[in-house]
Symmetry: D2
Subunit: 130 residues, 4 copies
């Protein structure tokens, strides 16, 4: 199975007073790439939400290796792996497009919660691991 990658570019409003991308913004990048990955598998996060399938992040482990700056192009990779019977993990990296340097490495663990707030892994998500 080939690795899913999504190309993005830093926007100036994402940079903070240090002149680099603010830490919290990387979570936005990682989330956006995961949702694009879902779309590549014919799953739409907004439609899942509207259908009452509430997918949530339960744990994030993020290593910030180098800082992205204004205008930098970068690729966000997404690799789903089983974490437990009810948890789906995504191994993700952010790689600088020009230099090929790894800027960030993350493991994002997700599950879904049903109407009574109990975690489960919907069939819709299990198919991602196929």
């Amino acid at each position: 199975m080939s690795l899913f990658k999504h190309r993005m570019t830093v926007r100036d409003y994402e940079c903070d007073m240090q002149g680099v991308v603010n830490n919290a913004v990387y979570q936005n990048y990682l989330e956006h790439a995961r949702h694009e990955f879902l779309k590549s598998r014919d799953l739409d996060f907004a439609r899942l939400t509207a259908d009452g399938i509430i997918v949530v992040v339960v744990r994030a482990e993020i290593d910030f290796l180098r800082s992205l700056r204004s205008g930098d192009a970068f690729d966000v990779s997404v690799a789903p792996v089983m974490d437990s019977r009810i948890r789906l993990a995504f191994n993700q990296t952010i790689v600088h497009a020009d230099s090929g340097e790894q800027m960030l490495r993350a493991r994002i663990i997700t599950t879904a919660v049903n109407a009574r707030g109990r975690p489960y892994l919907p069939a819709a998500l299990q198919v991602l691991l196929g």
Copy 2:
């Protein structure tokens, strides 16, 4: 002179509890398109800032006509016009890529401030009107 346009797509984290793009996010879109316009003219906002040329928005007039939703592709246009001797205005629109409907119309008025905080129009920006 042909109109500058920049294509973007709504990201899920930009949507709010109403399920549509939050109002403030449109200002991010408009700013990003202006900075891309500058780049198309060999001007870089981050470099201008680093060089001490502080370009600021002094007034924004924004008509929110329709709401963008998750995954919508849209074009942000940028047309610079002289507003006064020291002010440069940008007429901008956001148009839905699929339907061609105008979603937003804005007039963003900018100037630069020098080291003593006084407004002026740097030569670097005057060239945009040429």
Copy 3:
């Protein structure tokens, strides 16, 4: 009728590469103060939304007079005025808490849209003008 004011403080992540609050963030401040104003009148924006009363901003006019910086305390004022039969406007200012200087002045025009997307002014909002 006394003016509604809400005190806030600039957070570092709201500042951009120029070291000042990014323009789009002021719309967040203005929105938050309007929602606090609603709460002071026993109206809750999230509950209105959940109840299907979709209040939207149709036009924003914002004059950026001075820039807020890291740690600055400021007051956001909210004064509702009738704009038309179906539009409610909010005159708002942002005033620096220490210096008393006006940093921003805005007129935010809102309406509500019903299930068929037609604008109307719900009774819930008309009471704000009382």
Copy 4:
């Protein structure tokens, strides 16, 4: 040594299409509380940055236990601990003000980088552990 806590309230623009605070926003909350903690010790992040002391997050481990919603008041705690000779960690929690429930638990590991990009622990930060 008593635990540092900073009280905040969810703002509506911080909620996403699921009607809860977006994951990335929690990193903003955690960062803001750390900077308020620094201020309580007479350290100012913006001034450190202006003085060339670039403090960066190198790793974040965040457990999202429960979701904050519109209007929820919460306390963000900050407890600094030594992580290595050149790394300072912050153990942080977010606790719902009304219910006392823990919503989030995090370990944020930081260091500073000098002008040549090498990590070090400035004396200014070592004092936090005293």
